[in-house]
């Protein structure tokens, strides 16, 4: 594993603490930033290998950091931190090469597994890939590099090996959506859901596309009203 430091960007102290503690066990050097502006300052000063990035922050949000990061340092890997049920910008993030998400709350083991996977992704050789997981990882590697056509080829190969898992269908949907074909994308998301109705990323993608079509461009979920809130 490469030993480049990891930057943790989150406005919540407990998240920064949890993440840095979890990564200590991997012997990774970590640094933290409390908002987008600070993150950009840190990124300019030090050469990071990976950024754990919260999307919702006061001031400059995570998506803006991602956009700017892509202009200056397209090689840095990014894992997006999201709250439950708010991955409504997953495809937008993917256009910017970020395909890995971790949803709050997270278990330390879960963080370590994802970080290890993302950092080791470059070492998988395309000509030796045989298993479903390897093809999915290769697809993600090419999404990281924003080589979407190559990524789609690997997703198709993953599906050829095993067409019973939802993740590859969901990835295929996202790649098709990036190209602009929403209807075809929706079909793939629905295929993922048919295989596993509890697969949340696909459920959210379907909801987002359907809601967007019905409301004419308004993406409204993520700010759901809590039960009882209307009475207050």
């Amino acid at each position: 594993m490469e030993a480049k430091p990891v930057l943790i960007v989150d406005d919540e102290k407990n998240i920064r603490l949890t993440l840095s503690q979890a990564l200590e066990a991997l012997d990774l050097e970590t640094d933290t930033a409390v908002n987008g502006e600070e993150a950009l300052v840190r990124l300019a000063k030090k050469s990071f290998g990976l950024v754990l990035l919260d999307l919702k922050m006061p001031g400059m949000d995570g998506m803006e950091v991602l956009r700017r990061l892509r202009q200056t340092r397209p090689d840095i890997k990014v894992i997006i931190i999201t709250a439950h049920g708010t991955i409504d910008s997953a495809v937008e993030a993917m256009k910017l090469g970020a395909v890995d998400f971790i949803q709050k709350p997270f278990a330390p083991k879960e963080i370590r597994e994802l970080v290890t996977k993302v950092l080791n992704r470059d070492e998988i050789a395309a000509d030796k890939a045989r298993h479903y997981d390897e093809h999915v990882e290769l697809a993600k590697k090419h999404i990281n590099r924003r080589e979407f056509d190559v990524a789609q080829e690997h997703v198709r190969q993953a599906l050829a090996v095993d067409s019973t898992k939802p993740e590859a269908f969901n990835l295929l949907g996202a790649l098709i959506e990036i190209r602009g074909d929403r209807l075809e994308a929706l079909k793939q998301y629905r295929a993922a859901l048919a295989l596993d109705p509890s697969y949340e990323p696909a459920a959210q993608n379907v909801q987002r596309l359907v809601v967007r079509q019905q409301e004419g461009g308004q993406i409204s979920f993520g700010k759901k009203q809590r039960p009882g809130e209307e009475r207050r």
């Binding site: 407990n14 603490l17 330390p108």
Partner: protein, 140 residues
């Protein structure tokens, strides 16, 4: 791994919050679940874990709290039936290695034990302490 556990605590009343604060301070990863947002006010300012607002009787809420990744679950609500249901789900549905539950009714402890759930009964604990205190006074 024993030094750094991932623990889900159901119920953030006085007991749940106390445990969450202490275990968080000890360096464990904590998620507390409660359906009342106000309950999280019981957590101390240095609590560094997560809060999940929702009804723990729903599997989706337990899933959201990542019970499937937990090393330990502690059910501390005021309702024995909820505690039993959550404990059962944690054991059978999510395969949590260790499950602890608060039980008010001592007679129910047996049901929990059969499910492989460890219990703490405040009534029995308090009764034992009272008895000990009474006996000591009598002896002296």
């Amino acid at each position: 791994m024993a030094s750094n556990l991932f623990i889900v605590i159901v119920g953030c009343g006085r007991l749940g919050a106390y445990l969450a604060n202490r275990l968080s301070r000890a360096g464990h990863g904590i998620v507390v679940v409660d359906y009342r947002m106000e309950a999280f006010d019981n957590l101390s300012s240095d609590y560094s874990g997560f809060r999940v607002e929702g009804d723990a009787a729903e599997l989706a809420v337990l899933k959201q709290a990542k019970v499937d990744k937990a090393d330990l679950l502690i059910a501390t609500t005021r309702d024995d039936n909820i505690n039993l249901m959550v404990a059962q789900a944690a054991k059978a549905e999510f395969g949590v290695p260790r499950v602890l539950a608060r039980v008010f009714e001592p007679r129910r402890e047996d049901v929990y034990r059969r499910l492989g759930v460890e219990t703490v009964c405040p009534t029995s604990v308090a009764a034992e302490l009272f008895l000990k205190s009474v006996c000591q006074e009598n002896e002296s």
